[in-house]
């Protein structure tokens, strides 16, 4: 036994030495992004080109990201929040101003994605991806016409419906079904939306995040509320799937890159953001994850089947009735409570 103790200790130290030599003192960049939202090779290329180390972390919802930046005691250098969350973070002073001089690739971004309401001068954020929210459904399993949110309340599909495990998005579905704004700050409307979702709960197979792709591709469910980019990725894997933006209207969203106040290496953070909008890099990302890029130079580099996809690049007509999320401010607590009440239902 004594021998094995010695061998074990030596082994430990050898291992430590190996690891210690493995870690070098390169500058590091902490990136905080949505899960499955980047081509990992792009990160590797960035590391090589700038001789740095990227710590890449992921979150599942805007709310997760917000809390860990505000309270988590963790210092992120670049994050990827959506529209309404950017508005909130700007208002709470959680973001650094972006030096637009340094983001030379901003010129490749289509004008329609700049100077949006949540960040009027793009002082704080640079566009990354955009898209819509809709229903992805399996043509083999659904024989009704899918054009309305109502189908998610159709008992025929009980146990085959997937909802998003994200309070803002799911409540928005119910609000839109009822014909209200998805930025509602009206207790009566929200109460109705809550009751709709409670009524729907027995029909729901699961509330999911990105695993929706596994489930829909594997034909475990018939209908799912998804972000358009995921729909693109899913349709690529399973041709029985199709994507629809319901006629009652839906959500149009923008995910931008920001620099949180916790940033320790602003120079490098700017380089990273700029790098992500290099046309060839943006094109690679777009092809890999399936989402839609605001970078028109990148679109020119993409294969036709992506550019011509109405799912990824809807027409003006498709998106004219869509609404963008706004920060609901003090109503966040109300949304929290509603979501909890829905989740706690049996």
């Amino acid at each position: 036994m004594k021998i094995s103790v010695k061998t074990l200790t030596t082994l430990f130290f050898i291992l430590i030495m190996v690891f210690a030599t493995g870690c070098s003192n390169k500058p590091t960049l902490n990136v905080y992004n949505w899960g499955d939202y980047i081509d990992p090779d792009v990160i590797r290329d960035f590391e090589e080109e700038f001789n740095v180390k990227v710590n890449y972390n992921t979150f599942a919802t805007n709310e997760d990201m917000y809390v860990s930046i505000k309270k988590g005691g963790a210092s992120y250098d670049v994050a990827f929040p959506s529209d309404y969350m950017i508005e909130r973070m700007i208002n709470e002073g959680l973001l650094e101003k972006i030096d637009k001089e340094k983001i030379t690739n901003l010129k490749h971004i289509d004008d329609s994605f700049l100077n949006l309401e949540f960040d009027p001068n793009n002082d704080y954020s640079v566009p990354y991806m955009w898209g819509t929210v809709g229903i992805v459904y399996n043509k083999k399993m659904v024989d009704d016409v899918v054009d309305s949110w109502d189908i998610l309340w159709n008992e025929k599909y009980s146990g085959q419906i997937l909802m998003l495990d994200s309070q803002r998005d799911s409540i928005a579905v119910a609000l839109k079904k009822l014909g209200y704004s998805l930025n509602s700050r009206d207790m009566k409307e929200l109460e109705e939306a809550k009751n709709e979702l409670i009524k729907q709960k027995p029909l729901v197979y699961a509330y999911v995040g990105d695993e929706v792709k596994d489930l829909m591709v594997g034909e475990e469910a018939a209908l799912a509320v998804v972000w358009s980019g995921d729909a693109v990725a899913m349709i690529r894997e399973n041709e029985n799937l199709d994507y629809v933006i319901p006629k009652e209207g839906s959500n149009l969203w923008f995910d931008n890159m920001v620099i949180p106040k916790t940033c320790k290496n602003k120079e490098l953070a700017h380089e990273f953001i700029n790098f992500m909008q290099r046309p060839e890099i943006a094109a690679r990302n777009t092809e890999y994850i399936g989402y839609s890029t605001p970078n028109y130079k990148a679109i020119e580099l993409l294969p036709d089947y992506i550019v011509n996809s109405r799912v990824a690049y809807p027409t003006e007509e498709d998106i004219k009735d869509l609404e963008i999320f706004k920060d609901i401010k003090d109503f966040l607590k109300v949304y929290d409570e509603i979501w909890l009440e829905i989740k706690a239902q049996r």
């Binding site: 291992l15 905080y32 899960g35 990160i43 005691g73 210092s75």
Partner: protein
């Protein structure tokens, strides 16, 4: 006879129950599809991906470094503490032991949240250090609990004899006590190592952007679809554990087996 068959069958079903998911992991590590839902044929590409995939490799490295460091440190602190506690008067011994039990008895999530609150309160940024500190904190109690019984079993006259023969207390400690309780120390170190390697909850709350371990990576992947490279990794880990056990089993006989047995008994 019937009795035997029933026993065999029962054991078979329990073992099947425990191993079914592991078989799934192994099988899917050879699946040529990124998605769980479809089987696209046999491939070895995930094993290659494992070599290439930075995220998984880094998580593995951190998992091992943290496990090794926290096993060593908690074993050292725990051994010294156990010897000290052994010599304490009854009342303070009871108090210390009860406090020592807190992290064992408390749900992981409470320990995790309380440590996170501490680090936040002290304005320590979450990262490698906080993760290591929390791992050491929840490992030490198990080390102590596996050493104390050995101290109790130790023949007290041994030390007296050593001292009578002119050994200083420190010399007696190193030459007599430590070898006597070595099995307990090793068990403790192994438990600490295993606990650390498998931990999710405490790491999840107490690690920052710069470190992740395998569990955290798997948890975040569970939402995005597990990268089958992880399946490949666990297949490799499973095989190495099996191989290790077979080697141990064949090389030594009962004495080690007995000690292994104690690992779970304590």
């Amino acid at each position: 006879m019937v009795d035997r068959i029933i026993k065999r069958l029962y054991t078979f079903f329990i073992v099947l129950f425990l191993y079914a998911p592991i078989l799934v992991l192994i099988v899917y590590s050879f699946n040529d599809s990124k998605y769980r839902g479809s089987w696209n044929g046999f491939t070895l590409k995930w094993y290659l991906e494992l070599l290439r995939n930075f995220e998984v490799r880094q998580a593995l490295e951190y998992t091992l470094i943290i496990a090794i460091l926290s096993a060593i440190i908690s074993t050292i602190i725990g051994t010294i503490a156990a010897i000290g506690i052994y010599g304490m008067p009854v009342f303070s011994k009871k108090v210390v032991l009860n406090l020592n039990y807190l992290p064992v008895l408390n749900p992981d999530i409470v320990t995790a949240v309380s440590l996170m609150t501490l680090f936040r309160f002290l304005r320590i940024e979450l990262g490698f250090t906080t993760m290591l500190l929390s791992h050491i904190t929840f490992c030490i109690p198990y080390v102590i609990l596996s050493i104390l019984p050995k101290l109790k079993q130790m023949n007290k006259h041994l030390i007296e004899a050593a001292m009578d023969l002119g050994a200083t207390p420190l010399y007696a400690l190193i030459k007599v006590v430590i070898p006597e309780i070595m099995p307990g120390i090793i068990t403790g170190a192994l438990i600490a190592f295993t606990l650390s390697i498998d931990d999710f909850v405490i790491s999840f709350f107490n690690s920052g952007p710069s470190v992740t371990n395998l569990s955290i990576t798997i948890f975040s992947m569970a939402r995005t679809g597990i990268n089958p490279a992880i399946n490949a990794l666990s297949t490799l880990m499973f095989i190495s554990i099996l191989a290790l056990l077979l080697i141990i089993n064949s090389r030594s006989s009962k004495s080690i087996n007995k000690k292994r047995g104690e690992l779970y008994e304590n």
